[in-house]
Symmetry: C2
Subunit: 222 residues, 2 copies
């Protein structure tokens, strides 16, 4: 499975509190990095006791892992599910990119893409947290790659295209727009990411793929 909804045996009230705590934790981590997300920092932000937080999360690492799960659900709801709602192939591939850029444009996270921050923060810190981040990024790249393979199979992208390379190029434009937008507070970087995505797809489409891409782009920012 691509992601899993949280299985929780706590009461509905406890679950609600936990989700509210994790929403704040995701925001802190997007700004300060996951390594800056300690029980003390989160307790201060929530004006809660550290022991109250301990009832939910037994350790810093458990908190970090739960925060990643929470962010994963958010990306699943806001990027993956709407992206996969499109027909297989080119429409899904473009849809996934469009939804991800839209999420960044909406500035849902105060510190930019949660997973970009998490990758940057844990790239040199081996352990379960880094493993979970690496697994999540692999799933995202694989999702883009599979949509590209479907587009080739469906005759929308030239069979000479390499879907893994295409996935990397799409992700590269979007991930870098995240970093440059945050450095300069300039939404032009998101427009450049959109143009890069459109250019990468356009350079590999068949006539059939061009019609699908053209239909997807109607009314989209250029």
């Amino acid at each position: 499975v691509l992601y899993k909804w949280e299985v929780n045996t706590k009461t509905a009230r406890g679950l609600e509190t936990r989700q509210g705590i994790l929403a704040v934790a995701v925001n802190i981590a997007s700004v300060d990095g996951l390594s800056g997300l300690t029980l003390g920092r989160l307790a201060a932000e929530l004006e809660m006791s550290k022991s109250g937080l301990f009832a939910h999360f037994g350790s810093k690492e458990e908190l970090q892992l739960a925060t990643i799960e929470h962010a994963t659900q958010l990306y699943a709801e806001q990027v993956i599910i709407p992206g996969l709602a499109h027909p297989r192939g080119m429409a899904t591939l473009y849809g996934l990119c469009h939804e991800y850029v839209t999420l960044m444009e909406r500035e849902v996270f105060p510190g930019g893409c949660f997973f970009a921050s998490a990758m940057a923060d844990f790239d040199a810190r081996p352990g379960p947290v880094r493993d979970r981040i690496a697994q999540g990024q692999r799933l995202w790249l694989d999702l883009l790659e599979r949509a590209g393979s479907d587009a080739i199979e469906g005759g929308e992208i030239s069979p000479s295209a390499d879907p893994a390379q295409l996935a990397f190029e799409l992700e590269a434009a979007m991930l870098s727009a995240n970093w440059y937008h945050h450095l300069y507070s300039d939404p032009e970087f998101f427009r450049m990411a959109r143009r890069a995505v459109q250019a990468a797809l356009s350079s590999k489409v068949t006539a059939k793929g061009r019609r699908v891409l053209g239909a997807a782009l109607v009314g989209q920012p250029a």
Copy 2:
């Protein structure tokens, strides 16, 4: 000027020590981020007293700024100068990208590209350090853009190409390769960055530009 060599009134011996200290500081910052680079952390790494370090750098911020200058010199020597040694236009544009990817492949910094780490670390921390990082990244993007403009002027790239967009696409592939390589320790991401650079340039070349790019690619990893 693109960068400036350090002007230092200290004795030659003091200068040498200072450069040695900053070389260690650059490495720490590439792994832990510039914000993790404190006088205490650096003193421990160097087995030096904090007061000894204070003689060189009066504050954490001064140390961070000096570390950025040191890293800038390193990029100037290893990427910018060799890149600009090529003929203007396409050869320089490709040369800059090639040298940057090569620097990353050589793993000169234990935590990956110093400036990628610095951008990620300071994107949400306003102040002189972030300003200096933003200025450095702007110079890098401008350098790529100017080489692209020169290539258009020299008839190597189609006049319909947007050199700022091209600069972004080249940088995006390289910056993202840095992050993914560090997450997975997989040099395939550098090869994907090289292919992305070649594809972005190839899609916009004229017949003249194709010959220049072809000559630059002889003997290069594909």
